[in-house]
């Protein structure tokens, strides 16, 4: 095999899917899980579940220990140091909603929020709706032909009215790293807050929030080989002070009376109710597993596989890539073929890819496409997976043309 994955056997679901003749290439939507995560979930539930931060009993102490250890592991993963805190949420979407509601009092009518044309609905709709609530202007940064946020346009559009910039690190449709250092510098020059949607970026390479210098960084566990139902919000200390409490309930409160209450600071003040305890512990186990891998080998594998994917797509007549993907995924359309037809025939052949608008309807509309097929890779994929995809693609195109 040209590009084998030495980590494939660490993910038991891959063998199961293969027995069902399924080739999983929809990793930008969610990923399969390593055995280390399954073991951690099993261990937690088999050894005594308990709620965190509340009880004085031993199971409660163990659960809290495991939960807080995970917080440290996530902080280490992002090199948070003493720059800020990690808040656990129920997903990247809920983290972004927390920000859009928690920061709301800072905005006055006429203020501007800046996003980009490639944002996932999760990093578009919370800001769009905030703009409607507070009569703000939502400014959308345009892209260049390769799928990069246009920095010249950004320099014009980010200005003294800009109160917040929220952009993706890596597009879930175009697979292009965005020029975050330049964009964040533009925002900071106008004292605007900065939010980075790392949902895709976190999965590829390691990122350092101190070096990045953003106020907030958001990602979801399930795309990073962790359990679903867990999101991560990093906040810089000064920025966290600006955040109003949003959801109210157990654990986030300091003092409660019938008619008034005072609330804890971050992180616990923003983790109302019982958090996804097992999921957070599982994410910690996943990070332990990922930390144990040879990072340079991993990056080399992803690059080789991505190159293999792009070569294969480019070698086929009529295939048009969206943008100039750099890592992780490629979206494409085929001239004269409807993406829904192609998706249908790939599904018939056990190829699990994504078709449609990829939760980025405005971007697809701007590209004047009704949809596209996206192939997205993970560390357990190998070139045989891609060969099966190419074979199915050729067969489908044969039938459709």
């Amino acid at each position: 095999m040209l590009v084998p994955s030495p980590w494939r056997a660490d993910f038991p679901a891959i063998a199961t899917l293969q027995r069902q003749d399924q080739t999983y290439l929809d990793n930008a939507a969610t990923t399969q899980k390593p055995q280390a995560l399954l073991d951690a979930l099993n261990h937690y539930y088999a050894n005594g579940a308990a709620n965190v931060h509340r009880a004085q009993h031993l199971p409660g102490a163990h659960a809290t220990q495991g939960f807080e250890d995970s917080r440290s592991k996530v902080a280490q993963w992002l090199n948070v140091g003493d720059s800020g805190q990690i808040i656990f949420t129920h997903g990247a979407t809920s983290a972004l909603n927390l920000l859009a509601y928690g920061l709301e009092p800072l905005f006055n009518p006429g203020d501007e929020i800046v996003i980009s044309a490639l944002e996932h609905h999760a990093n578009l709709l919370p800001w769009q709706q905030l703009a409607k609530r507070r009569e703000l202007k939502l400014v959308v940064l345009p892209l260049d032909d390769e799928g990069l946020i246009d920095l010249q346009a950004a320099a014009q559009l980010i200005g003294p009215q800009t109160r917040l910039l929220a952009v993706s690190q890596l597009s879930n449709v175009l697979g292009v790293w965005q020029p975050l250092p330049q964009l964040l510098a533009l925002a900071k020059a106008h004292d605007a807050l900065t939010v980075v949607d790392g949902a895709q970026g976190i999965v590829h390479g390691r990122h350092d929030v101190q070096a990045l210098g953003c106020d907030f960084y958001v990602f979801s566990s399930h795309k990073l080989y962790g359990p679903d139902g867990v999101g991560v919000l990093y906040g810089r200390t000064e920025a966290l002070h600006l955040l109003r409490h949003w959801q109210f309930g157990g654990e986030m409160v300091q003092q409660a009376d019938y008619h008034s209450a005072s609330f804890r600071p971050a992180p616990l003040g923003f983790e109302a109710g019982t958090p996804p305890i097992a999921g957070v512990i599982g994410l910690g186990a996943t990070l332990d597993y990922l930390s144990s891998l040879d990072q340079s080998a991993l990056i080399a594998h992803e690059a080789a596989l991505h190159d293999y994917l792009l070569r294969g797509l480019r070698a086929r007549n009529g295939v048009r890539l969206l943008g100039a993907p750099q890592v992780a995924l490629a979206s494409f359309v085929v001239e004269g073929v409807h993406n829904a037809d192609l998706a249908h025939l790939l599904t018939e052949q056990g190829i699990a890819v994504r078709a449609g608008h990829h939760c980025a309807m405005p971007l697809l509309k701007r590209l004047q496409l009704s949809g596209a097929i996206r192939v997205s890779l993970a560390l357990y994929n190998d070139s045989d997976d891609l060969e099966r995809f190419f074979e199915a693609l050729d067969q489908a195109l044969d039938m459709l043309r």
């Binding site: 829904a340 998706a343 249908h344 449609g356 009704s370």
Partner: protein, 137 residues
């Protein structure tokens, strides 16, 4: 209930199919036989929301019998819609209420096209058909 002639033909054809390729090719053939929808009917009001491709569906009662027409820009969904129309066109209002459409696709060996995770839109088309049949009888 007696099957309409077209439906009987579809059933015989699809039940004889052995491979997914044959089934897909036949779906496309059925789609090609679907009569063209008048441009006047290809308006937003007739667009079925929730499909990956644009699908239009109109239905009218003529002398107590349903006559549906549809169109789609994608070929396989067009085939699925053609199979649907083969089953329902010509039915009376009461007959349309009684017909078990998921079972119809099941008999054709196409039940997977109706699974909740499928975004091809067949479910949305069925829902639209139910809505139309409830508003005009």
């Amino acid at each position: 209930m007696n099957l309409p002639v077209d439906a009987l033909a579809a059933l015989q054809a699809f039940q004889a199919v052995g491979s997914w390729e044959q089934r897909a090719r036949m779906l496309m053939q059925w789609g090609e036989r679907l009569p063209a929808l008048a441009d006047a009917d290809k308006v937003d009001a007739n667009l079925v929301q929730g499909c990956e491709s644009l699908v239009w569906l109109v239905g009218r009662l003529h002398d107590g019998h349903w006559q549906f027409a549809a169109s789609s820009e994608a070929r396989l969904i067009r085939g699925l819609v053609a199979l649907l129309l083969a089953r329902v066109n010509g039915l009376s209002a009461d007959e349309l209420q009684a017909v078990d459409l998921p079972d119809w696709f099941n008999q054709l060996g196409l039940s997977r096209q109706l699974s909740p995770s499928r975004s091809n839109g067949l479910n949305a088309v069925l829902q639209r058909m139910r809505d139309l049949s409830h508003t005009q009888h």
